[in-house]
């Protein structure tokens, strides 16, 4: 892939990633965020976080489908950081719009509500990943250790999906789509690992 295509694609990914925020800002200025603006902002930022996180997790399994998809890796960090960015905005809606920065009320709330705990866990797990997203960190940590650390992204996504299930009304099944997508991605990883282990054993046998 030539440089121009990469630049064009990067611009496109930036625009797509910024569009949920741009829509909120646009409607916010027009005082047009719907009947329940707090819920609109909360849902938009929450969906953006989960979707971007799952898309970033799809990059590696997709690349394995064909060597021609190798270029996808260039977008993983960008997607992951945008997921973290929307996660921060989502957290901010809770701290500001729901709790009015009332620390005592928040502590009381977090202790009692498991969906908030799951959401907090998902955000906290993304924090070290965002902090170690630079090339410098990869070198400093070493590729292997960095990779192990960044598998936390899966744990974060699982926490995020649990958070989603716990906030919808009992009986409502809207989180099913993202749950299935995440499950498929996880299974693809497991299948890949299993296949590698078998081929490695085969190699050992052949070498012997």
């Amino acid at each position: 892939m030539n440089k121009r295509t990469v630049v064009a694609l990067k611009v496109a990914v930036w625009l797509v990633c910024l569009s949920p925020l741009a829509l909120l800002v646009f409607h916010g200025f027009r005082n047009d965020l719907g009947p329940d603006p707090t819920a609109t902002v909360t849902h938009a930022t929450g969906f953006a976080t989960l979707r971007l996180l799952v898309i970033s997790l799809a990059i590696t399994p997709l690349r394995r489908l064909s060597p021609r998809l190798g270029w996808l890796i260039r977008f993983r960090r960008l997607l992951g950081l945008f997921a973290f960015f929307y996660g921060c905005l989502h957290l901010l809606t809770y701290l500001w719009l729901y709790s009015g920065f009332n620390v005592a009320a928040m502590i009381d709330d977090i202790g009692k509500r498991r969906y908030i705990m799951a959401g907090m866990a998902a955000w906290l797990l993304l924090l070290p990943l965002a902090a170690t997203s630079t090339n410098w960190s990869i070198r400093k940590l070493g590729g292997k250790r960095w990779q192990v650390l960044h598998r936390l992204a899966y744990v974060s996504a699982i926490s995020g999906v649990i958070h989603y299930w716990w906030i919808v009304k009992s009986g409502v099944r809207t989180p099913i789509t993202i749950t299935l997508v995440l499950a498929v991605l996880l299974l693809a990883r497991i299948a890949w690992l299993a296949r590698q282990r078998i081929s490695r054993q085969a190699d050992v046998v052949t070498a012997g």
Partner: protein, 316 residues
């Protein structure tokens, strides 16, 4: 945005928006079809047919800013038509509300069936502005139109054994796509203790803003129990059933820990998953939405005595 202060003029005396919009369409149509002589006066009449003659009521809550007609009719929980707030406004149009019959049975002197036309002309329709508090911690102020349910109960002549009233909503999978999306115990069922049902604030409701209810708000007849969370107010009622035992109710069956049979608005009893201390007023701007939730949704003076001696943390 449309924000109206409560005024002394009942809404039925103000031309409803849908009516003047229809009239405008009628005029446009007149321009197009007038020469061809295809005009019929039906369009204007249809617009007037949605209007209700209402009288003022001392039971209306004064001094509140009304939620706009648009928000009341586009932000709905009516799971028969889908789980998202905008689903009912999109999907409820296919429900036929004429002809409509309501069956009154169970522990009554005699089983009766009554048509919506009879219900509408049974007693004067009052305009009652009530606060409306959803269990999801949002709220509205709605000018309902109806009369006290007690009027109908007296007419139904329940037997002394009757201690509860159950309300059953329409269940019709041909027009209700939501019946598949969520596994509630359909048809939607709600219930009240007899003294709650007989309370004058409990409103048998046919309209809002001086017009017949739009389908998404529970047409053609619904309940409004202003001191309880919104889901207690069953929509599109087809059956009123008197029983001696506490009836099964839809959300209580689904998640008894989260939705009690009583479900009185109570800022001191949290939903297991969120606080009920505050609420978001629908239609307010982003940073002005949150306001404190009132005990019994502000109707404590009228209804608190119904629960004397009851532990409201236990019977939430």
């Amino acid at each position: 945005m449309l924000i109206k202060k409560t005024s002394d003029i009942p809404f039925s005396e103000i031309t409803p928006k849908s009516a003047y919009l229809n009239r405008r369409a009628f005029m446009t149509g007149a321009a197009a079809l007038g020469a061809a002589g295809l005009l019929e006066p039906r369009a204007a009449m249809a617009a007037d047919a949605t209007k209700l003659q209402t009288v003022k009521s001392p039971l209306s809550t004064p001094g509140l800013t009304l939620t706009s007609y648009k928000d009341i009719t586009s932000y709905n929980n009516f799971y028969e038509f889908g789980v998202e707030k905008d689903n009912p406004a999109k999907n409820a149009g296919k429900m036929k509300t004429r002809p409509w019959k309501v069956t009154v049975d169970g522990l009554v002197k005699q089983k009766k069936t009554v048509s919506i036309e009879e219900l509408l002309s049974f007693k004067p329709i009052e305009e009652r502005v009530y606060r409306h508090r959803c269990v999801e911690a949002w709220s509205m102020v709605i000018p309902w139109a109806g009369y006290s349910l007690s009027e109908l109960i007296n007419w139904a002549e329940p037997l002394p054994k009757a201690k509860y009233v159950q309300f059953l909503s329409l269940q019709d999978s041909t027009v209700m796509p939501g019946l598949r999306d969520i596994n509630l115990n359909w048809p939607y069922s709600e219930g009240l203790r007899m003294d709650e049902a007989m309370h004058p604030l409990t409103l048998l409701t046919f309209g809002l803003y001086g017009e017949l209810l739009p389908n998404q708000d529970g047409a053609p007849v619904r309940l409004v129990v202003p001191w309880k969370y919104g889901f207690k107010s069953a929509k599109s009622i087809v059956k009123i059933h008197f029983t001696s035992d506490q009836p099964n109710t839809a959300w209580n069956d689904m998640a008894p820990r989260e939705y009690g049979f009583y479900s009185n608005v109570n800022p001191n009893v949290d939903h297991p998953r969120w606080s009920q201390k505050t609420e978001r007023r629908i239609g307010a701007s982003l940073f002005e939405q949150r306001q404190p939730t009132l005990m019994f949704n502000g109707y404590g003076d009228q209804v608190a005595s119904l629960y004397n001696g009851m532990d409201l943390k236990k019977y939430f």
